[in-house]
């Protein structure tokens, strides 16, 4: 059992399933990049930059799904509000992109974004300061969702709210934020949100190179997020988390502070969701309050359920499959999409209770590798 002696952060890299995942991800990304760069336009194998960006958005969703699987699959907290953390991360990135526009906006104001000029505001609200600096904005991409998750989680877990009640509260959270962000006075662009972004870190968002770079950055973020989550779930804390999921009271009697374990994992998950949102916004070119809509948060949970809970890679598969199906479907008959999604969900719950991941060959338990050494050592 050499693995468990490794530093918790590097432990997943010794695991076969993690290497396989990273290998497949790298191969798929290389294929996309090559198909875009090597084959000329018009060639059958050419991939347009539009499609590359679409793939980039899927990868954002995959990272979001991994974040949800961490709290739902391994901690048993069914969050129906993770879209809120995604959106908050997205808004933090959006604020940076808005300030990058500078004098190139419609009104040409050097500091104020267009919508503020339009509302006759004469100065920047206090919470917009600092977002002209990339490092600050990127820090906020992590800290803003973390703070939101911390306050929400602290109150909920301390009062031992669990199960359905907690799920309803997370729905209420994202719904309340949606209503708040619709309001112009909030200073986040009301129902139009932010759009017409120009550049990111000095690179124009309109060029193919930047878009390709964003796609690669998203893949790297997914890889890091995946390894981080895997490191957590294979650590002792990950096992404690499963213990909290299955027998919360028992875990307390062993001396673990269940509410702190829940809070920690919930906050980490919210930060990953925030990063996913931040990478999504420059690729989608827009962020608006619809991102907070309760339906979106429910959809994320469906991706994870379809892909297979408590596997992490299942979440990735689910997010990719469902979103690909969605873009195909909405192209053919947009009205039918929600029915198709519902039908797919029913199908999977009835016939594939473990999701798509349940069809894959079963992963060996990490303990299996080292046969009976522990037991033998004990008697030695």
């Amino acid at each position: 059992m050499t693995d468990s002696n490794r530093m918790w952060l590097t432990r997943p890299l010794t695991e076969g399933s993690t290497r396989l995942f990273l290998g497949l991800l790298a191969a798929a990304m290389t294929a996309v990049v090559l198909m875009h760069l090597v084959f000329p336009e018009g060639h059958a194998l050419h991939m347009s930059i539009y499609t590359v960006t679409l793939m980039g958005k899927y990868l954002c969703y995959a990272l979001l799904a991994v974040a949800v699987d961490l709290v739902w699959g391994y901690l048993g907290i069914l969050s129906l509000g993770h879209g809120a953390f995604f959106a908050v991360g997205g808004y933090a990135m959006g604020m940076y992109l808005m300030r990058q526009i500078g004098t190139r906006g419609e009104y040409g104001h050097p500091v104020l974004p267009d919508f503020m000029v339009f509302l006759n505001w004469d100065q920047l609200p206090w919470y917009w300061h600092g977002f002209d600096m990339a490092w600050f904005a990127f820090l906020m991409v992590l800290l803003a969702p973390a703070a939101l998750a911390f306050v929400f989680g602290y109150l909920a877990f301390r009062s031992r709210v669990t199960g359905v009640y907690l799920s309803i509260m997370t729905q209420a959270l994202t719904f309340a934020l949606m209503l708040a962000f619709y309001r112009n006075e909030m200073g986040f662009g009301g129902n139009n949100g932010f759009t017409d972004f120009k550049d990111l870190l000095g690179f124009s968002l309109l060029t193919d190179g930047t878009r390709l770079g964003l796609f690669i950055a998203t893949g790297v973020a997914l890889a890091i997020g995946y390894v981080l989550c895997r490191a957590i779930v294979t650590s002792k804390l990950g096992r404690v988390s499963v213990a909290c999921r299955d027998a919360e009271a028992r875990t307390r009697f062993l001396g673990y502070r269940v509410e702190r374990v829940q809070l920690f994992i919930f906050v980490v998950s919210a930060m990953l969701a925030g990063v996913a949102g931040a990478l999504y916004v420059p690729q989608a070119g827009i962020i608006n309050p619809n991102q907070f809509s309760p339906i979106f948060s429910i959809e994320i949970v469906l991706w994870v359920a379809l892909g297979g809970r408590a596997t992490l890679y299942g979440a990735v598969i689910g997010a990719l499959v469902v979103n690909y199906a969605k873009s195909v479907f909405t192209g053919i008959m947009p009205e039918a999409w929600l029915f198709a999604l519902g039908g797919l969900f029913v199908f999977v719950t009835v016939f594939l209770p473990k999701g798509i991941a349940g069809l894959l060959p079963k992963k060996k338990r990490p303990d299996d590798d080292d046969s009976d050494t522990t037991a033998q050592e004990a008697t030695a």
Binding site: S235, R239, T251, A378
Partner: protein, 274 residues
């Protein structure tokens, strides 16, 4: 091999099970002290003016008919249920009514539940690993590594509980009796100062009961043990002092013989023969 001999020499204490340093202060009296404790559920007094004292190192058996309040008493000691009145002290320093479950557990009070509760999705080994006395805060748990010493301790407990060959199994697939053993093993991993054991031998064979009896009597002395059990044969085989609970309060207390001849006790058990 050494473990095996240690296990067979019944008069020897298992030193690897010695409790970890607990801050409990027992210089001036008992390790556990319940005074005038009362708990009502919707007006029904499950615990009614209960007084109980457990000395350091004592092995105490608690018997009583169904619904006497035995499990509820353990719930109160471990912080799961708050009494309406009364006081509960662990040693002379710790007021348990002011603490929550994890704090009480870290003070050195371990508990085995009446209905065996193990972590079904985790392996036998992992169940023991989580129970092991350690720094249980979030970050130390995240970065924890399993050292050879930890592994040895888990191996020892696997051996004692007869689960050695099942260490990789998911706990969920164990039989009822095996889950009982696993829970006892988890209790041993915690190295508590005070063990509260609720019906440990339910679902066990005669032979296993004997092993449990040996184990519990071996622990007493260094650790204090409170056993709730319905099986009178088992109680007789380990009991030194027996407390009879009835309708939430103490009906009788004393040696097994004294208690079983007490007319009040005989009446409660309605000639079931105790």
């Amino acid at each position: 091999m050494s473990i095996f001999t240690e296990f067979t020499e019944r008069d020897r204490v298992f030193d690897f099970l010695a409790p970890t340093a607990s801050p409990v202060d027992v210089r001036h009296g008992p390790i556990l002290y319940l005074e005038d404790v009362t708990v009502s559920f919707d007006g029904f007094r499950a615990i009614d003016d209960l007084n109980l004292t457990i000395d350091d190192g004592e092995l105490r058996c608690i018997i009583g008919p169904n619904g006497a309040g035995k499990t509820t008493m353990m719930d109160i000691i471990t912080g799961k249920t708050r009494p309406d009145t009364g006081s509960v002290w662990f040693g002379s320093r710790h007021n348990l009514l002011r603490m929550n479950e994890p704090d009480i557990a870290s003070l050195g009070i371990g508990r085995k539940f009446q209905k065996p509760t193990v972590f079904e999705a985790l392996s036998v080994f992992e169940n023991l690993e989580l129970a092991m006395a350690a720094d249980k805060r979030v970050f130390p748990t995240l970065t924890a590594r399993l050292t050879g010493e930890h592994r040895d301790r888990i191996g020892e407990v696997l051996e004692m509980t007869g689960l050695k060959d099942l260490w990789r199994r998911e706990a969920g697939v164990l039989s009822h009796g095996q889950k009982q053993w696993l829970e006892i093993g988890m209790l041993l991993m915690q190295r508590p100062r005070l063990l509260l054991v609720d019906e440990p031998v339910a679902g066990m064979t005669e032979q296993e009961m004997e092993r449990t009896a040996e184990l519990l009597t071996g622990l007493a002395g260094q650790q204090s043990v409170v056993v709730v059990e319905h099986d009178m044969g088992f109680v007789r085989s380990i009991a030194r002092t027996v407390t009879v609970l009835h309708q939430g309060s103490v009906l009788a207390e004393g040696s097994m013989d004294a208690v079983s001849n007490d007319p009040k006790v005989v009446e409660v058990y309605l000639g079931e023969g105790i």
